[in-house]
Amino acid sequence: MQTRLSSLVRGVSKHAARLLIVLGLGGFLGATLVRLAPGYGVDEEELDSRLNQESIQALRQSHAREDSLPGFYVRYLIQLMKGDLGDSQTLHQPVRQLLAERFPETLKSVGIGLALAWTAGLTLAMAAVMARARAVDLAACLLASVLLCIPAAVMALLFVIAQAPGRLVLGLIVFPKIFHYSRNLLLRSASLPHVLTARAKGLGGFRVFLWHVLPVAAPQLLALAGVSASLAFAAAIPVEVLCDLPGIGQLAWQAALGRDLVLLVNLTMIVTLITLLANSAADLAANPRRAGEA
């Protein structure tokens, strides 16, 4: 019991350390990109026609001194630790405020989408494996394959035309990946020797599935949960833009069109943090002992 607990603690601390390193690196990369992007530090003061060329040069040099890359990064980190994510250049609002307004909307969409995708994907995968009927498997595979070939943005447009709720689109985008992965995993587990023996001994189909197939596939299915969160967040951009849902996906698109780099980098960092947390949680839940050893 104690060994289990200590390996779990070790696993959590290793994941936390990795998270911090990745965030530090990501933050540095983001700050570097913002600092080096064309147009950074251009001051409206420079447009003052009364200033001569020398004054403009002096202004630029003072900005360059203020904003050397290490200095910029240190200031960025200090602000980040205070919870100040900077101001959006296009929307002229603090990034923190924008995130507070928009994040709940995206979380709601992603939550509904993931719930739908997992319910449909896992149910169909289980049906395909348990029924062992070619027609069921073929129909489910066909549906998933068709959905896999439609771009997320087109699916969102079709929902707008059909006046259907846009949040469901996220579910349909993630569903085929969950279905294909779960089906393959469950099929592989169902063909293991101990499952065949259990069947040969006359155990019922549902019991075999619940006690012998699902436990084998469960760790990898849990690992898929983390990946599915990343897929859903990525799909949130076209869905929120086209279905007019005011979430962070729509915000990211507005920031990209306006080249609002401060907002974009912070958004990407935060979404990365969430997906990393989801992946780590899934990893720990799937196999706490191995996570400690990793």
């Binding site: 990795r18 990745v22 992007a37 896999l148 070939c149 771009p151 087109v154 447009l157 035309i161 990211a252």
Partner: protein
């Protein structure tokens, strides 16, 4: 299922030939405007009608298919090469290089793909020429899509380095670059081919998403993503069904890549 795969490959060949010969097959250049017939329904002159600027949709579909269907494999080639170099070197060298590369792939795979893509796209100028926009879009796809493939290749290279063939080659005094070039890389070819094929439909779909969001190939150059933007002004499914032709072509093409890929995976 061999006939299904053959049919898929045949379809891809036909579409590729048609789009490559767009200069001869297309009834008009993709940017030519027939100002007297904007938003026209399909007719013998304009097989898929015209768009709101009076441009022939069939011609634009042919040229757009050329852009999407030729440049997605180019981007896939770039990402596969990057994955081969990065993943292969990490798997072959092992140690800190492998650990660093795996950490970098972890970071890349945790970043939601579209967020990363539009962030990097936004760092580059948005008002560029159409040709530059094509190059930027597909170069970005190629440069940012290497992580998953590198992970697979690294794992494969690591397994290969412990295999009897490589141990024997090392025992015979072969080492360094020669070992990598003559023995490791040829054995990684099947997995590289598979990664290349996997990437193509992913890049086609991503370009379509970027195009619809206005961050892909710039007008007047057509691409599947750009053409699908027309669906934004669509009001009902029965009003202009011919607007769905680019979507159907995209779906069938992506399906054909998946079908062709299934056997490629079996072979690998």
């Amino acid at each position: 299922m061999k006939w299904v795969r053959l049919a898929a490959i045949l379809f891809l060949v036909v579409v590729s030939v048609a789009c490559l010969s767009a200069d001869f097959v297309a009834p008009a250049p993709y940017a030519r405007q027939f100002r007297e017939v904007p938003d026209a329904a399909p007719s013998s002159q304009h097989l898929l009608g015209t768009d709101d600027l009076g441009r022939d949709r069939f011609s634009r579909l042919l040229y757009g298919t050329r852009v999407s269907l030729l440049l997605a494999p180019a981007a896939a080639l770039l990402s596969s090469l990057l994955a081969a170099v990065i993943g292969g070197a990490a798997g072959f060298a092992g140690g800190w290089l492998e650990t660093s590369v795996m950490a970098a792939t972890d970071l890349f795979l945790s970043l939601p793909w579209l967020f990363l893509l539009i962030t990097v796209r936004a760092f580059l100028p948005l008002n560029v020429s159409p040709i530059a926009s094509v190059a930027i879009t597909f170069a970005l796809l190629g440069c940012l899509g290497w992580a998953a493939a590198a992970r697979v290749i690294c794992a494969d290279a690591r397994t290969l380095c412990g295999s009897d063939v490589i141990v024997l080659a090392r025992a015979c005094g072969i080492g360094g670059f020669r070992l990598l070039w003559r023995h490791v890389v040829p054995n990684l070819k099947p997995i590289l081919y598979a990664q290349f094929w996997i990437s193509i439909p992913v890049f086609i779909l991503t370009e379509a998403n970027l195009g619809i969001l206005g961050l892909g190939v710039a007008e007047p150059l057509p691409s599947w993503g750009g053409m699908l933007r027309e669906l934004e002004s669509f009001s009902s499914f029965s009003a202009q069904p011919w607007l769905f032709v680019p979507l159907i072509l995209l779906m069938v093409t992506v399906s054909c890549f998946h079908l062709a890929l299934q056997n490629e995976e079996v072979w690998a």
